[in-house]
């Protein structure tokens, strides 16, 4: 039996679990902090807009944000075991959640000062690679892309004659 393979496996699992959990916790803290700071700027999926009274549109522009988040060894192992039984692949849920929320935050960062982001859409894709056996398996990384149209307003000042 290949003992060294087993040892490498255990080390990678421990590394993946400890480092992965720490990185995830840190990322979530940062996401929550930035989301709270940007809370006053709404994002909506519809495309209609009402211009508030006394204001006019200064600028409208498409904004995008994307993030690629990778899984760790521990999560990948949990997921591959999950395929035997079916059900929720719990270890990947946070991966997708983090990627999307990060993409939305980055989109908002492009829209500083905008009143609203209209018609937002999210796309996700995986980043594939072939492993050493030549089987095409996902790298276990997900890319989320968020895009929408940001609208900036100006106050209408009374015209001075």
């Amino acid at each position: 039996m290949d003992i060294s393979g087993l040892v490498i496996f255990v080390v990678l699992m421990a590394l993946g679990y400890i480092a992965g959990t720490m990185a995830e916790r840190k990322h979530y803290k940062s996401i929550e902090r930035r989301e709270a700071a940007m809370l006053r700027q709404p994002i909506v999926t519809y495309e209609d807009m009402e211009t508030p009274e006394g204001k006019r549109v200064r600028k409208a522009k498409m904004v995008t944000g994307s993030a690629v988040i990778s899984t760790d060894y521990f999560k990948r192992f949990l997921a591959s075991l999950r395929f035997f039984f079916g059900g929720r692949v719990k270890s990947y849920e946070s991966l997708l959640d983090r990627a999307r929320r990060e993409a939305i935050i980055r989109m908002k960062q492009e829209a500083v000062g905008a009143k609203i982001i209209l018609g937002m859409r999210i796309e996700t894709s995986n980043i594939g690679s072939s492993n050493r056996k030549g089987k095409n398996k996902g790298l276990g990384a997900v890319e989320a892309l968020a895009y929408g149209t940001a609208v900036w307003f100006d106050e209408i000042r009374p015209q001075t004659p």
Partner: protein
């Protein structure tokens, strides 16, 4: 319409299960599943083996290349010994063919088709006919129990299970591969014990006493050259264990009395050529 900014509390999109709990549950489940499949298939193999006709076994055996045999005189002697042992054996081993081969290790093994090989090194170190008879009867026990068919069947079972795992992650193979191997080795140790028992019964029935039954195992146990892996990683029971259970079974069949050992013939130390 008016925008009402509200922060979200909690996260509905991520399950609140501790990852380590999930790991334990999944590992336990997968292990259980694979071991159950292995046991079920292994049981099916054990059930079908006695019904496999001798001709089929010989056909399988014909596909396996056999090592060249040397030292005709010793092989002839072993052949005669095997025939006299067969008369007293509890289980019929069918027809066996004996051979001697050059190999640096003290060993004897049975191959499909009733072929039993002794290494020259083992023959050089053997002290009496009784000791030789015990080893020979043990290998004949493997033939009678058709253990190589069982191991071929189990090998196929493992290959089948492995093919299911090929599509999964490398990590899963690291985890499940060894656990199947452990089950496989445990089965192998059980077959060895049965063959030992067969050898012992044959020995006592032939010579009227159990002298020489444990000498070989005591010798390899004392030999520093052979590193014995821990029990769970070994395909054979540990030699000192074999000595003690052989002594126990001996007491059970015959009583602990030692009888006279039959010496080997005078020409025993004359070999066809020099040891490599």
């Amino acid at each position: 319409m008016k925008y009402v900014p509200k922060p979200l509390e909690g996260n509905v999109n991520v399950s609140r299960t501790h990852p380590l709990k999930e790991l334990l549950l999944l590992c336990g489940g997968v292990l259980g599943l694979v071991l159950a499949a292995y046991l079920a298939l292994g049981f099916a193999v054990d059930w079908i083996v006695p019904y496999v006709p001798q001709e089929l076994e010989e056909k399988i055996a014909a596909k396996i290349p056999m090592p060249p045999t040397k030292h005709k005189r010793h092989a002839e002697y072993l052949q005669q010994l095997a025939e006299s042992l067969a008369e007293n054996a509890p289980n019929d081993a069918g027809s066996v063919t004996l051979g001697v081969m050059e190999m640096g290790e003290e060993n004897a093994f049975a191959l499909p088709g009733g072929r039993i090989y002794f290494t020259r090194r083992l023959l050089e170190n053997v002290g009496s006919e009784n000791e030789l008879a015990m080893i020979l009867a043990h290998e004949m026990g493997h033939c009678a129990n058709r253990d190589h068919l069982r191991s071929i069947g189990r090998g196929l079972t493992m290959a089948l299970l492995a093919s299911f795992l090929i599509n999964s992650d490398d990590a899963v193979e690291y985890f499940i591969g060894p656990s199947i191997t452990l089950g496989h080795l445990s089965h192998s140790r059980k077959r060895e014990e049965l063959a030992d028992r067969h050898g012992l019964e044959t020995l006592v029935a032939t010579y009227g006493h159990g002298g020489g039954a444990t000498e070989f195992f005591s010798r390899i146990n004392d030999n520093e050259e052979y590193k014995h892996p821990p029990k769970y990683l070994s395909s054979h029971p540990a030699p000192h264990k074999r000595v003690s259970y052989l002594e126990e079974s001996l007491a059970e069949i015959y009583g602990a009395e030692e009888g006279e050992l039959t010496p080997l013939p005078d020409w025993w130390d004359e070999w066809e050529e020099k040891s490599p």
